[in-house]
Symmetry: C2
């Protein structure tokens, strides 16, 4: 814990530093279909937020949109530009924080976009660009379910599967900015299911929300009988529908759910074994809307993880919901300009 008192910009500031500062940041969560800009204070409080759909995904157009949304959030909060000291953006994909470049942004179709610079031309604040799950984990760790622990793992199962890492009290992004991509660890080799990333056998190809819907549709298409047919007729089946059907004894749903629980629990247990975190935070729509899957995952992770890693471990639910990304990117941006 003493580690957190040392060193550079990636550390949590002391309460004194927070009180002194009294300034604001803009935090932005940049998704594939929407962007959300919020005004954040030093306590991680969201003073206002402005959500906008992405009509045009061209980098210049997105930068224009984020600039407008930022100023609109500021106006809603009745604060002025001079009170803002920095702006943080969390985006999905491979991000190089140091240079402010989106190396690969799959949801946006971007490659090597110097997005921090594009945004910096439109606004007067320093811009910090980061991965969306890194931002969310920093938010949860700082003012959410992480309780300021030094070693925290955010394990996220939603449409996709991923994670964010706080290690030795600092955000860990890896040498190329792509650490935490647990959704693309291989769980079936050889002969694994094709994943959206183009590889085979990835965890996400089995347990991500989008893939779960596809797997139900595929099974129904192959003539499997299932009570999920009705839900599937109305659109992509949700994870919560599968859990409900599994609990009601539906065979297809039971098979998918048993496999999902097994793969996720081995994955999370092995992650805990190698990193020995004090806290795991479970996030994402699949985990947060499926209590039975979550319960099984927690129980089996404790059974399968290294015995010595279990005593100090807490596995909890994410607390900040949709705010995690804007809070985390905003706080990181504030901390990056701390004198």
């Amino acid at each position: 814990m003493a580690e957190r008192q040392k060193g550079g910009s990636a550390e949590v500031p002391t309460p004194a530093a927070r009180a002194q500062a009294g300034r604001l940041a803009i935090g932005i969560d940049l998704g594939g279909t929407n962007a959300r800009a919020a005004v954040i204070d030093w306590d991680g409080k969201v003073l206002s937020a402005c959500k906008r759909p992405l009509a045009d995904r061209a980098p210049e157009a997105v930068a224009d949109l984020l600039a407008v949304a930022s100023l609109e959030a500021l106006r809603q909060a009745k604060r002025n530009e001079a009170e803002v000291v920095a702006l943080g953006v969390g985006a999905a994909g491979q991000i190089h924080s140091g240079t402010g470049v989106v190396a690969v942004g799959p949801n946006l179709g971007w490659r090597d976009v110097p997005f921090a610079a594009l945004l910096g031309k439109r606004l007067s604040w320093p811009v910090l660009l980061m991965n969306d799950l890194s931002a969310a984990s920093w938010g949860e760790r700082s003012v959410g379910a992480g309780e300021s622990e030094a070693d925290v793992l955010l394990y996220f199962v939603g449409t996709g599967v991923g994670s964010g890492l706080i290690l030795n009290g600092r955000l860990y992004e890896g040498s190329g900015g792509v650490a935490g991509e647990v959704g693309h660890t291989k769980v079936v080799v050889p002969g694994g299911r094709l994943c959206g990333c183009g590889e085979h056998g990835c965890l996400e190809a089995y347990c991500g929300g989008h893939n779960l819907s596809m797997r139900v549709a595929e099974a129904l298409g192959q003539g499997r009988e299932s009570t999920l047919a009705r839900a599937a007729a109305a659109g992509p089946v949700r994870a919560a529908d599968i859990e409900q059907a599994a609990l009601s004894g539906d065979m297809l749903a039971r098979e998918l759910w048993d496999e999902c629980a097994r793969l996720l629990s081995v994955s999370l247990a092995n992650y805990v074994t190698v990193l020995n975190p004090a806290r795991v935070i479970l996030g994402g729509g699949v985990l947060l809307t499926c209590p039975e899957l979550r319960r099984t995952l927690v129980e089996r992770t404790f059974e399968l993880a290294l015995r010595a890693s279990r005593p100090g471990l807490q596995i909890v639910e994410a607390r900040l919901g949709d705010d995690a990304g804007v809070v985390g990117s905003g706080l990181r941006a504030l901390e990056s300009v701390l004198p």
Copy 2:
């Protein structure tokens, strides 16, 4: 890379700091059957070393032995006690560096032994206790195959299987001091082979050198035909014997070797996917004496790891051999007393 310039005692010192200091440390590698004490300078150079068998594993007796070996190493180096500023010890097991306690030392049969204090009573230097693979990874990273990269993974397959982690330029030991225990990640669930740790399905139960010997003996005991029978009659079969037999077409050896290569490459690839290190250092007797296994492991790790994690990745062999532990523990001890 800039991260390495920041922060606390776990960082690599600047060349200037090294030159200024000009002092020495004792580094100790405490194994289950032998202890090795060495005099280490700021460049990680081993000035002398003294190896002693552990006749008695009682903590007080081991502390006595290490004190004697340390002074003997110092005498051999023709240096005096006043030139030594700190002593580091790397030992297998669950170590709490902060408190200097061996929580669990499986090779020594220790539980909750305040070993840094025991040793501190016998010698006048500050004592830093750490995990043996953490020590080895710090040594390799600082003056061996790690080339001072910020994010380095030492992947070790010897009698046992384990790893050491340098992340954000700092040693990462986990919240309970047991990070890196990749040998106890689960690779076969359910119904996995019993591991020495008491759990089932651990990587080490399939690929550790001790388990490989046992698996050959078990197969021969069950009547399997194999050219390994001759080697097995003379004692535990070595990994290099299995590799040689596999290359000569022996069926049992081929099966074991294929499985070993598959399990290790999925394990290492997944480790690379979640941590995105700049460098992986391969160490341990099994990997270092089996070039075919090593070649396959490197090739498949590049195939199976997250695509975005591959471009900057280098996978290299450990360079310091048996010196890694004494160099790493000695350097860490020196750095811990840097003013």
